[in-house]
């Protein structure tokens, strides 16, 4: 584990460096508080720090106060190591944000034991952060496909439309539905159906850009939002998505299955004040049209402009 030592006394600094290296720490040593705060501010900077109080440029208390203002950094465990040993000093040090306090001359065994406490606190914090992230993922993603769940993809669409209106850019909304998926479930069982859904999710993500949004809208329905995508490109993009599914069979435990997808598309830069529900309803109508047209195809909800020219329209499929 990385540890920062900040001490202007070269003898203390060297002693601490050697002692902590022996204990397996990855030591970074600096001789003033300003450098210490800079190191602690780095994204992958040390999360364990041993600070002298009296230092040039910025003292240990100043570093503690500076660390408290680093909102985008994870928790940093700070031990103040100083010859200031009065009760008032200890209280002032801890009140400034230090997590522990040791007086010089230090006992190496006690110093290491206290740093181990710091390590345990950091490990506990890591565990809590990981658990929080797991919970956050579970709350926002579909458990089977790991795509965004319905609530999140619809909220994301609403946010994207707000931005589109503000910036005057074009957004493409696609509602995609697997064709005859019930037959997969009924004919081969739900486990095979789940395998198909997982592979479809993987292919959908592979067929869009990293900043586009893909969510599971319903059982075998998927909502795709292409940010900042020109309407003239919408048809080709939708076709890419469709071909990504139909282009090759999906390998399942039953064997390869040929799966196809119908897609309803709505592309516009002029959403006016449309409600998300209205937009989804309009896109859903396009999807129904794609189904009615024989499935495994793309259908547009509105005529779209090609190349930005108002005279050139791609007809509804």
């Amino acid at each position: 584990m990385k540890i920062l030592i900040a001490d202007d006394d070269p003898i203390s600094r060297r002693l601490l460096e050697k002692t902590l290296e022996r204990e397996g720490f990855d030591v970074i040593a600096v001789d003033n508080g300003r450098s210490a705060l800079e190191r602690l501010s780095l994204p992958n900077g040390p999360r364990l720090a041993l600070l002298d109080w009296v230092m040039p440029e910025l003292d240990g208390i100043g570093v503690c106060l500076g660390v408290q203002k680093l909102h985008d950094r994870s928790y940093i465990h700070i031990v103040l190591l100083t010859s200031k040993g009065s009760k008032e000093d200890v209280v002032a040090g801890l009140n400034s944000g230090a997590n522990d306090y040791l007086t010089k001359p230090w006992d190496p065994a006690e110093l290491v034991a206290r740093l181990r406490v710091g390590q345990r606190v950091l490990q506990l914090e890591d565990g809590l952060v990981e658990a929080r992230e797991t919970m956050r993922f579970k709350a926002t993603h579909d458990s089977l496909t790991s795509l965004l769940n319905r609530g999140v993809i619809v909220d994301s669409l609403a946010r994207e439309l707000t931005r589109t209106r503000r910036e005057g850019r074009c957004t493409v909304v696609m509602l995609a539905d697997l064709d005859h998926f019930k037959a997969v479930n009924d004919g081969h069982g739900h486990l095979v159906g789940d395998e198909v859904l997982k592979e479809v999710a993987r292919r959908l993500l592979a067929s869009v850009r990293s900043y586009d949004l893909v969510g599971r809208y319903g059982g075998e329905e998927f909502l795709i939002v292409l940010n900042n995508c020109d309407s003239s490109q919408a048809f080709e993009r939708a076709e890419e998505v469709r071909r990504g599914i139909a282009g090759s069979p999906i390998q399942t435990s039953y064997g390869p299955l040929h799966i196809t997808m119908s897609i309803g598309v709505l592309a516009s830069r002029d959403w006016e004040l449309n409600l998300v529900e209205d937009i989804l309803s309009e896109t859903d109508s396009a999807l129904y049209k794609a189904k009615a047209d024989g499935r495994n195809c793309v259908s547009f909800a509105r005529p779209i402009l090609q190349g930005g020219s108002p005279n050139t329209l791609i007809n509804q499929l």
Binding site: D9, R14, K18, D52, V54, P105, P108
Partner: protein, 124 residues
């Protein structure tokens, strides 16, 4: 002057403490002695200059650094004298300051002699 007399109760160098501090690492011990020899003259000049200019906060910080270094080398007497000088600076008490400064130089001289002997004695 009681505090100055008290320092005499201490050993010039606490050898077992120093050896434990460096974890019996003789190379480290010699390295620390060399660091101190290189740093001390500069710190002493800083201290004298700050006192002449009556910059007592700066003088106090320099005494604090000296105290820490001497304490790190287990120089009990010299660190006690440095601590006394630090207090004098903090209290803006220049009385006996020059005497204490000379005392510090003497005690550091004694400490360095004992450190040099100790460094030879502990050689493997």
């Amino acid at each position: 002057m009681n505090q100055e007399r008290d320092y005499l109760a201490n050993a010039v160098l606490d050898c077992p403490d120093l050896l434990s501090r460096v974890d019996n690492d003789r190379d480290l011990l010699r390295e620390l002695i060399e660091i101190f020899k290189a740093e001390f003259p500069e710190l002493l000049n800083q201290l004298k200059g700050a006192v002449v200019r009556r910059e007592m906060k700066s003088a106090e910080n320099t005494c604090h650094s000296l105290k820490g270094m001497l304490s790190g080398l287990s120089g009990l007497r010299a660190s006690a004298v440095a601590a006394n000088l630090e207090r004098m600076c903090r209290d803006a008490d220049p009385l006996e300051f020059s005497v204490s400064l000379e005392l510090l130089e003497r005690e550091v001289g004694k400490l360095l002699s004992e450190l040099d002997i100790f460094a030879i004695e502990v050689q493997p």
